[in-house]
Symmetry: C2
Subunit: 212 residues, 2 copies
C-alpha cells in the first residue's frame, strides 16, 4: 500500500499497518464499508454500503440513480472506512478504557467496473459464498439499473488494537477488575421466506454460512 | 428531527424514519459512529469513533491533539453515520439480494462539551453500564488531554430494512431457497488482564454485560 502524508498514522502509530495481507483480510471479513465524499456544494457525506474486494480493487455498487453513485461516478474523491469491533477494554482508570478493533481507511477515486456482470457475481459470492450458481442472474434491465464502482487499493492504512488495557503504573495496585470483554458477530439460524415454496430445504451453501 | 432536503430519503423512501425514539435506540445500541468531514484542503475524511448519546446531543471524544478533533473543533461540518447489520437477505434472483440493517445519518457542527468530566462519565457508562463507580476518575492532566465534542440531534434521518426478500413476481416459482440469515453481535466471556491482582472476581457490572 502506498504511504502518503495522510495515511501516516500520527495517533498511536504503533497500531498502524500498511501490508496488503492485513488489509485484505480486514476487507474480506467486512460486509459494510463507510464511503465518505464531498458533495458538489462542499458538504461532507458518508453512507454505509456493501463492499467486496476483487483482487486489487474494492467494489461498491448501488442504484444508477443514487446521489452517492452519481457523485462518485462524476469523479468525487472517496474515503472508505471499514471497522471491526473486537472487544471492550476495561481499565482500572476511566481514561484508559478503550476498544479492541481492526479498521482500515482507503482513499481514491472510483471508476465504473470494467465487467459489471462479473462484479455482481463477486458481490453475491461475498454475501453468501456459493450462492451465484443457485440464483437467477441479472437480466439486461437489472444490469442497467445497477452501477458498480471500483477503487484501486493503492492509498490507505490499517489500524489494529488488541490485548489488555494499558494503565498508568500506579493504577495496577487499584482494586478494580480489568480486562477485555470480547465482541463477536454471529450468523444465526436461517429464516425461510414465508413465500418459500414447500419442499425446498436449506441448501449447503446457506447451512455452512450459518455455522460460522 | 429536522427534515431538510438532504435528509429526505430519495432511494427506497418507505424505509425512512425521522422519529427520535427510533434514532435514540439506534444510537444507544451502537458503540461506533463513522464521522465524516471535509479536510482544510478539501478532501473527504471519515474515522470510526466511540459515540455516546447524552439526551439531545451525540458526544464523541478524542485526543486534543488529533487532526479530526482539531478540524471539528475548528468548525468543520460533520456527517455522522451509524449502522447495525441485522441480516443477509437471500433472494431467488441475484439482483434482489440485500441486507437487513438499521442506520442513521446526522449532520451538524460540533461544539466542545459544556461539562467534560460529566461527558467522560457518559462515555464510560456507555461502554460498560455501572463502571464509573468502580474506576479511578480522570485527573486534571487526563482531562486536558481529552477533547469532548457535542453534536445536537437536530438534522438527520434513520433508515431501516427488515423482513424477507422482495422478488419479481415470476421469480417466486424458482427452485432457489430464499430467506434471511440473521446477524447478531454478542459479548463473550470476560478475559482478565494478565496483570490483574489475585483475588479480584469478575464484578456484577461486567458479568451482566456479557450475559447480553
Amino acid at each position: 500500500m502506498l504511504k502518503t502524508p495522510r495515511t501516516k498514522l500520527r495517533r498511536v502509530p504503533q497500531r498502524g499497518l500498511h501490508d496488503r495481507a492485513t488489509l485484505d483480510a480486514l476487507l474480506d471479513e467486512a460486509l459494510i464499508g463507510h464511503v465518505a465524499f464531498v458533495t458538489h456544494d462542499g458538504h461532507p457525506a458518508v453512507i454505509p454500503t456493501l463492499i467486496a474486494r476483487d483482487g486489487d480493487d474494492l467494489l461498491i455498487h448501488g442504484s444508477s440513480a443514487s446521489r452517492t453513485v452519481r457523485a462518485l461516478r462524476a469523479g468525487a474523491e472517496a474515503c472508505v472506512e471499514v471497522t471491526h469491533v473486537d472487544g471492550i477494554v476495561l481499565a482500572r482508570s476511566a481514561f484508559h478504557h478503550s476498544m479492541n478493533y481492526r479498521s482500515a481507511i482507503l482513499y481514491g477515486t472510483l471508476q465504473p467496473a470494467a465487467d459489471k456482470a462479473r462484479a455482481l457475481e463477486v458481490f453475491t459470492e461475498k454475501l453468501v459464498p456459493g450462492r451465484w450458481d443457485h440464483v437467477r442472474w441479472p437480466n439486461a434491465k437489472e444490469l442497467k439499473a445497477t452501477e458498480v464502482l471500483s477503487l484501486p487499493l493503492t492509498e490507505g492504512s490499517a489500524k489494529v488494537r488488541t490485548g489488555p488495557p494499558g494503565e498508568e503504573e500506579e493504577d495496577y495496585a487499584l482494586d478494580a477488575w480489568a480486562g477485555v470483554i470480547p465482541i463477536t458477530t454471529r450468523r444465526g439460524e436461517p429464516i425461510p421466506d414465508p413465500q418459500l415454496r414447500s419442499g425446498i430445504p436449506v441448501p449447503d451453501h446457506v447451512r455452512s454460512l450459518t455455522a460460522r
